[in-house]
């Protein structure tokens, strides 16, 4: 089974995005974000995931989508990148899809 062709799909404003399955650490509901000063504007702050502090990225600002206030109905996508794990704020995570 080729892991690189399995994707996790999520939506932002009805637009579907996908990340490779093997980069996804976990998916959860949005939690309280601790703001951090002097960060790039796409970083909303940090969250504590089982003792690991990871930055949380405003994916709407990253993709230049219209901004919306985050609420409890939003979800979190924790992904591993080449340099560090990050959390993305997404509307809704979809199912796993094979490409």
């Amino acid at each position: 089974m080729n892991q690189g062709h399995q994707l996790v799909v999520f939506t932002l404003d009805e637009q579907r995005y996908a990340v490779p399955l093997f980069t996804v650490a976990r998916i959860g509901r949005l939690v309280e974000i601790t703001p951090v000063p002097h960060t790039p504007e796409i970083v909303l702050g940090v969250i504590d995931v089982q003792g690991w502090i990871m930055p949380i990225v405003n994916s709407r600002r990253r993709f230049r989508l219209p901004e919306r206030k985050q609420g409890p109905s939003d979800q979190l996508l924790l992904v591993h990148t080449a340099r560090r794990p990050v959390a993305l704020v997404i509307d809704i995570a979809g199912c796993r899809e094979d490409l």
């Binding site: 959860g28 939690v31 309280e32 504590d48 089982q50 409890p72």
Partner: protein
């Protein structure tokens, strides 16, 4: 808009559509209010989730990590020793007392050709001595450098004890008991530190002769 359905019964009373519409509007308002809670409620929801996310691992890890111990009885007290150090348990059939050894050394036994010394932890821990029977068991503990037998009154079995359930040693236990203690379980069992027992140089008897001073 909801339309009045054709009613099967002929004698229906006239429906007050204004009340129905008012009820529907109230329900709609309640629904919208329920979907978007107040900012304070949203904040508390997010905060509770953040705390759950941050604290999850301790609960899970503590429940998962466990220590396998061989439990045995010594003078009606429950003792445990890490199962990873235990090679075997054999009945105390015949042992040879060894002269000129400290009282904690019961003697030597022959287990399939290997001569092992048997340590009586009761004298070691100042517990009241009981007579030996052939129901006594010998727990053979070993590591890469050392192997010896521990005398036990009875074997209770092997148990998996979660690490979170092992409390640190009581401050009232002093001396040699404290030195070999790994912790105390919630059922008043004493977990012995087998690694420290095996590595203890006090247990190695080099030579005891008549001229030597005790």
């Amino acid at each position: 808009m909801p339309a009045p359905g054709p009613h099967a019964r002929p004698h229906t009373t006239t429906i007050d559509w204004r009340t129905v519409h008012r009820c529907l509007e109230a329900a709609q308002a309640a629904l919208e209010h329920g979907v978007t809670p107040t900012p304070e409620a949203q904040y508390s929801i997010l905060r509770a989730r953040a705390q759950a996310l941050a604290h999850e691992p301790q609960r899970e890890e503590a429940a998962r990590e466990a220590l396998d111990v061989v439990e045995f009885l010594l003078a009606y007290e429950t003792y445990g020793i890490e199962a990873s150090y235990v090679r075997e348990v054999s009945p105390l059939k015949a042992f040879t007392p060894l002269p000129c050894t400290p009282p904690c050394v019961l003697g030597i036994i022959n287990i399939r050709g290997q001569i092992l010394s048997v340590i009586d932890l009761k004298t070691f821990f100042d517990l009241p001595a009981r007579g030996l029977t052939d129901l006594n068991k010998v727990i053979v503990v070993h590591d890469e450098h050392m192997a010896f037998g521990l005398l036990a009154d009875a074997i209770l079995g092997v148990r998996s004890i979660p690490l979170a359930a092992i409390q640190p040693a009581l401050p009232t236990l002093t001396g040699i008991r404290e030195a070999y203690l790994r912790g105390v379980t919630s059922e008043r069992g004493v977990i012995l530190d087998a690694g420290r027992l095996l590595g203890d140089s006090n247990l190695i008897v080099l030579e005891w002769g008549e001229g030597d001073e005790r």
